[in-house]
Subunit: 311 residues, 2 copies
DNA sequence: TTGTAGGCGTTATCAG
DNA sequence: CTGATAACGCCTACAA
């Protein structure tokens, strides 16, 4: 592989001049330009990206940490982040984490090592307190409400639409509601917000028996429905549309009356099932997250979600 | 930011010794180790990733070029590539291309510049002939049958299951079939294979009027259905399950009899609609692509797809 | 076991 | 306009 010194030697000019020509800088004579370009073409020379990055002190890449990839929250978020990054000349590194704290910590260390210019956590298992120190080493963005912690964040405000969802179920005659929740309730902001909305609308906390935890995908929804059937619920507030679809399959296959359902994510399946859903506008959140990552923005930014009534 | 020279100076040892300690290499005295580590902790030192890459001559990252992100083919492919990469200590850079030849060429140039160790094209608009020269600069993998072109490839063999799909429609009484195809038929290997299967089963080429092109997502399916209704088709071979779902919506909303449908991708929607589909096993393809990218494999590797009969 | 010196490839400063 | 030379940080023969 030819390098800039080879070009310099063969063209009879110095590396400084070659560098100027390569980068289209002014103060180069036409003679020099021609001579350099000739050799560049002959040797099929291209500058080395790693050396450039080292010299420039940045990578122009943003690390995006996602615990999983087969969930609409994460796919739409990473997609919008990627789109926004591309538009600004940044590239996106996909960093899978499986909610493993050790892996997350590893990425944080890589940030310190300047492997990325910034890190976006679409979600994380690590306590915010352990992430915070790294904001000194580089830009860190989280995609949920960080509360009083002072860290860059872009997220949806779910509170109101969760109340709307519960209210919709109540208005349609639901008496005994079950909920599909992600991960353990304590760890998940989503779970907490959903349970809080229930309490607000119904005046009492949702009994633990009607909370099904760790429901993340369609297959989980199918399993979870089984548990709620045993509790004789007449309505379900689901963690996602595709998940709700799994539950519907269970009810149908067992010739049971399908309960009232409210989904989330505004996926195709809620259209097909004709159930209400919530659009969290992750496209917007993703763009905000990226703008935070590249320093266009800073601080906390929340986006209002939208309840989509149907039927 | 402290660097290795600072550590050397402050610890009283040379950069070589510091480097050995940092990287856990042998031939370092306990004294040296202790002294170095003490300073490392004091200054909170971490080695610089860019400098390491430059020195090592590799990036440990694989570029994955995808024309779009909201399509199951690309999401499941990139997901499986990412999983396989992670397992091997490689990282994945997400490279959106929108089927733009200039952008694709740009990524190829970046490969020459050593920005990535390898490039995987999940699909591409550039002619193979223009990609081929770059295989000298780095590893390039494509995810479709490259025919006689000698380039690393991992892909599904769609031919047989496409024939099965057409046969299923014929067996169920279909007389007038319409097809949803991706992009212009000439450019897309999928389109060509689907049309070829039709010809094989029905003995004549599918009339152009019953080919709807550029059908890529659910909304497109809805639009495309409208065109096929005008042609009075009694069956549809779709480019994807979610796309088929869009068509079904159109038929239902207009109170028309839903035709026989065969989908693709084995998505949730085909389960809900209870239509046959084709599983292309992209998870396997993705893993093969990555193994090609990192040099575990070379040459062409095809995976057989599976026809899933329903109803 | 340790250190020196050179290489990885580029960019930028500053004197000419 | 041009060129030496010093960063950018790290790794590693080779010598001691």
């Amino acid at each position: 592989m030819a390098n800039i010194h080879d070009i310099a030697r063969l063209s009879g000019f110095s590396v400084a001049t070659v560098s100027r020509v390569i980068n289209g800088r002014p103060y180069v004579s036409d003679d020099a330009k021609a001579a350099v370009m000739k050799v560049v073409r002959q040797l099929d020379y291209v500058p080395n990206a790693m050396a450039r990055d080292l010299s420039a002190g940045h990578t122009m890449t943003i690390g995006v940490v996602t615990p999983m990839r087969d969930h609409p929250y994460f796919t739409s978020l990473t997609n919008s982040i990627t789109r926004a990054a591309f538009a600004r000349g940044y590239r996106v590194m996909l960093l899978p984490s499986q909610y493993d704290q050790a892996i997350e910590a590893d990425y944080l260390e890589q940030l310190r090592m300047k492997a990325y210019d910034a890190l976006i956590f679409t979600s994380h298992a690590l306590p915010l307190a352990e992430i915070l120190p790294y904001t000194q080493a580089g830009v860190v963005v989280v995609c949920h409400d960080p509360g009083s912690v002072s860290i860059n964040a872009a997220f949806t405000d779910r509170g109101e639409t969760y109340v709307e969802g519960c209210q919709w179920l109540k208005d349609h005659g639901a008496q005994k509601i079950g909920m599909f929740l992600p991960r353990t309730a304590k760890r998940s902001a989503t779970s907490q917000a959903m349970l809080k909305a229930y309490q607000q609308v119904f005046g009492h906390p949702l009994p633990a028996k009607r909370q099904v935890l760790d429901v993340m995908n369609n297959a989980d929804g199918y399993q979870a429905a089984q548990k709620l059937v045993a509790q004789q619920v007449d309505a379900i507030f689901s963690n996602g549309d595709d998940i709700a679809a799994g539950a519907v399959q269970y009810y149908r296959e067992h010739h049971l009356t399908v309960p009232l359902i409210v989904g989330q994510e505004n996926q195709l399946s809620s259209q097909l099932l004709d159930i209400p859903t919530i659009d969290h506008h992750f496209r917007v959140v993703g763009e905000l997250a990226l703008r935070l990552a590249v320093g266009e923005l800073s601080g906390q930014h929340q986006v209002a979600s939208t309840f989509i009534s149907r039927g």
